[in-house]
């Protein structure tokens, strides 16, 4: 019997979304991959301190939910990584083993994983990996940069400004004054690099704006301030694909009392409101009940931004709709949606097992395509020295 190819699933990480990443990895990636049966799954858990570990117990959610993870990590030794024309993970201990990684599956959310840094490392290792490549991840994980790309692509975005931590620390009143001059309340204040809506606030006056900025600066050095969309309908469109894109259903997530689709609403309040579907992302309307043209237009805009940002593999494009003027604004891109948004894919007719299989196929396709490109160039340049 031929040996199964190893898929390394990376999760955890130094990120506020560390715990969500664990759930995504175990429930939506590792389990379907194991059920698929074609691969050897190697879980690579990155602790909150940034140390890499691998242990078969990481395939079970109980390892993390039971509260004994710190004790377990104390006993385990970190893995080491070798770039040997590929990527080899060495597990220390009595049964020291070297495992050659065939494909990588980053299941990370937030900084140092979803932001392109891990993708850069995997690119250097020259192995296929699932999801967006480094440039798309960088764009997607910077809300400001993503807006600028969408704007350049001709996609409507809400009116926005941005500020940096240093400048704000120096002259907070001046910056707030400029923001008030340029934008109209109510406003949204967002750290530019965080996902899962962490650190976002909706503000209606100067005092709230100042607080909101301070909260956002707690998480990030760059803060985005943008106008709220009146008559808001927020929708999200998960997409898979490389050049050929395949959108799932347009989904309308639950919005909390402050009109923010925040962390608690997304991950903690699942099922507390009546009606709708309780997906992995809590309450949502799936498919979103939008008038025919708005539904199709949302998909078109999502596809257009996905392409403009050079997303590949999987991403989720969030949109804001003014339901009176029927204007659709691009909001942000999430290059690794929580739990892969598997509830939406399932509703769209793609099972969890099929979804991960498709993502791996897309990763291989991209890798093969890149491999064909000439990457070196022979010159006589060194001979002159």
């Amino acid at each position: 019997m031929s040996k199964k190819e190893t898929i390394a699933v990376f999760f955890g990480g130094v990120s506020p979304e560390h715990d969500i990443s664990i759930v995504t990895a175990i429930s939506s990636v590792i389990r379907p991959l194991e059920l698929d049966g074609r691969y050897q799954v190697l879980p690579i858990y990155i602790s909150k301190k940034g140390i890499w570990y691998s242990d078969s117990s990481f395939k079970k959610i109980e390892t993390f939910s039971g509260g004994g993870i710190s004790e377990l990590l104390d006993k385990l030794k970190p893995v080491s990584v070798t770039f040997d024309g590929g990527l080899t993970i060495e597990k220390p201990g009595l049964k020291r083993s070297k495992i050659k990684v065939g494909i990588a599956f980053p299941a990370m959310h937030g900084g140092n994983g979803e932001d392109g840094s891990l993708m850069g490392l995997l690119r250097m290792a020259n192995i296929p990996f699932v999801g967006c490549d480094m440039p798309a991840s960088v764009i997607a994980m910077d809300k400001l940069l993503a807006k600028q790309v969408a704007e350049a692509n001709g996609t409507p975005v809400v009116k926005y400004e941005y500020l940096y931590a240093d400048a704000f620390a120096e002259k907070p009143d001046k910056i707030i004054g400029e923001l008030e001059k340029s934008l109209e309340y109510p406003l949204f204040v967002k750290p530019t690099h965080l996902g899962s809506s962490i650190g976002i606030s909706r503000v209606s006056n100067r005092k709230e704006l100042q607080n909101g900025i301070e909260v956002a600066l707690y998480y990030d050095n760059k803060v985005l301030v943008e106008e709220a969309v009146p008559n808001l309908v927020e929708v999200t469109v998960p997409i898979i694909g490389n050049e050929v894109m395949m959108p799932a259903l347009v989904e309308r997530p639950l919005i909390n009392d402050n009109n923010v689709f925040d962390f608690d609403t997304k991950y903690m309040n699942s099922g507390k409101k009546s009606g709708g579907k309780h997906g992995s992302q809590g309450y949502s309307e799936l498919p979103a009940k939008l008038p025919g043209k708005l539904y199709e237009a949302s998909i078109d805009i999502a596809r257009s931004v996905y392409k403009a940002a050079e997303c590949e593999g999987i991403a989720r494009v969030d949109l804001l709709i003014d339901s009176k003027s029927n204007t659709i604004y691009f909001n942000e891109i999430n290059p690794m949606p929580g739990s892969l948004y598997s509830h939406n894919w399932r509703k769209s007719g793609i099972s969890n097992v099929e979804l991960v299989a498709k993502l791996i196929e897309l990763a291989r396709q991209r890798y093969e395509k890149h491999k064909k490109l000439e990457k070196t160039f022979s010159t006589n340049f060194l001979k002159q020295f």
Binding site: R31, L35, G37, W345, R346, K347, S348, G349, I350, S351
Partner: protein, 470 residues
């Protein structure tokens, strides 16, 4: 020999107990299974050992046998070290045979005489019982027939039926012991696996009415031939007049052994002058009309599948014979529900799962594939480990399943075992264009089904593969 060392694992005695329990302490089945097993680490996959009093006692016997063998091996060292080694090498096999001896002795000296007394008591009790006694015989479809009849007849009568799989002489006797004596109708499911089984049960029951639900190759290994199966099932005729035996003519082997236009034949076309019309099958249930002269019955049932029209009609005809009104019959039919694990539909994440995991016969598989064909779905998935006990027809039966599936299913999921290659061959020969998945861990598959399904799918789960068959 490669895995002989697994007989020395600490879990080995427990595995032996597990195998005994799961082969229902039938020594022949147990030894068959034992000799087929190579790697004893892979036996306890599907179930757990249940620590009953019998298991605990046998566990103690095992411990004593092991201690005795070790003592003999130790004492033999003074004679010859090689003899000791030989004894130790044979210890796993000695254990197996030594554990069978108390089982056999217990059966012959205690159980058999006790059973004989129970059977005699049951025969006497039934002889005086005033109820109509209905014997249900066949290779398949007995439980379904029994349950449908019971559901319809309770509209008017006090009905008792053999529960679960109490279909042996001793099981039947135990059931008879529980009867109050004032029942109007008694339904007996007759189990048969060797010649004379039906006769033995009929001698106890003395039935007034018989139903032959179908004949196929089930238990072919114990019957030896289909002819033997047929003659065993038709042993019913020695106890009931042919005009009182309903026969399912949807079953080819029953049809071939019945006179043409037998008034007691039943099928999806009708029964005893009742004609079936306007059949409508969906995952919500089955609907049709039955008419005979001026009488008309609108049959609605939650049971799913065209193959059940025959037996639903039979229940209506028997109920009519017994004097139930049209209204009562319609109400009784309406109360019929899918049985657990038999064409039982339920929703999972927007997909329809049809749980047919107790279906372990060829006719059932064909009916399931036909149903899958009739239904609309985004993706039709058929999951099967194949069928057991097909004797020398194993290859033919499974190739045929593959051929039938090729034109119906979009995805075929096979549980890896000895029949997989034949189903695969059948699929290939019929030009199957869909997706084929071969699963080597069925338990994992069934317990994580939610990861395999998506909205719009219909997943038919056919499975009846106890692990001692492999």
């Amino acid at each position: 020999m490669k895995y002989y060392w697994t007989c020395y694992l600490p879990s080995y005695p427990k595995v032996i107990l597990y195998m005994l329990q799961n082969s229902e302490y039938r020594v022949g089945d147990f030894l068959h299974w034992y000799y087929r097993t190579r790697d004893f680490r892979k036996v306890m996959k599907r179930r757990q050992l249940i620590w009953t009093a019998k298991v605990k006692l046998l566990g103690l016997v095992e411990l004593l046998i092991i201690l005795a063998v070790l003592t003999v091996a130790w004492l033999s060292v003074s004679l010859s070290i090689w003899l000791s080694i030989l004894i130790l090498l044979l210890m796993p096999i000695i254990l197996v045979y030594a554990i069978v001896i108390p089982l056999w002795a217990g059966r012959a000296l205690i159980q058999r005489p006790k059973e004989k007394r129970m059977i005699a008591k049951a025969t006497a009790k039934l002889d005086k019982h005033p109820a109509k006694k209905i014997a249900i015989v066949g290779s398949y479809g007995k439980t379904t027939t029994r349950e449908i009849l019971k559901t319809v007849l309770v509209e008017e009568f006090k009905v008792a039926a053999t529960p679960g799989n109490m279909n042996t002489p001793i099981g039947t006797s135990r059931f008879v012991d529980t009867l109050d004596g004032d029942e109007d109708v008694l339904l007996f499911e007759l189990g048969e696996s060797t010649i004379g089984d039906v006769r033995e049960l009929c001698e106890i029951i003395q039935p007034d009415l018989g139903i032959i639900t179908g004949i196929n190759e089930a238990h072919l290994e114990s019957f030896g031939s289909v002819e033997n199966t047929i003659s065993t099932i038709f042993e019913l005729k020695d106890f009931i007049d042919d005009s009182h035996i309903y026969k399912n003519s949807d079953s080819r082997l029953v049809r071939d052994n019945t006179i043409k236009d037998d008034p007691k034949s039943y099928s999806k076309k009708g029964v005893a002058g009742w004609c079936v019309d306007r059949v409508d099958v969906s995952l919500e249930g089955t609907k049709f009309t039955l008419s005979k002269g001026k009488k008309s019955i609108i049959a609605t049932s939650k049971l799913v599948g065209e193959h059940l029209v025959g037996v639903l009609s039979l229940a209506a005809a028997v109920a009519d014979d017994f004097g139930l009104t049209t209204k009562e019959i319609e109400s009784g039919l309406k109360n019929t529900q899918p049985f657990e694990h038999r064409m039982q539909p339920y929703k999972l994440h927007g997909a329809w799962i049809i749980d047919d995991t107790y279906n372990g016969n060829r006719e059932g598989v064909e009916a399931a594939i036909r149903l899958l064909d009739q239904l609309d779905a985004k993706r039709k998935v058929y999951v099967t480990p194949g069928l057991v006990e097909q004797g020398n027809r194993k290859q033919e039966v499974h190739e045929n399943i593959g051929k039938l599936l090729a034109g119906v299913a979009d995805v075929v999921v096979l549980m890896q075992n000895s029949t997989t290659q034949f189903i695969q061959r059948g699929l290939e020969s019929a030009g199957f264009k869909g997706e084929l998945q071969i699963i080597d861990n069925p338990v994992k598959f069934y317990t994580h089904l939610e990861h395999f399904v998506a909205e719009g799918d219909i997943i038919m789960l056919q499975n009846d593969w106890p692990d001692f068959y492999e």
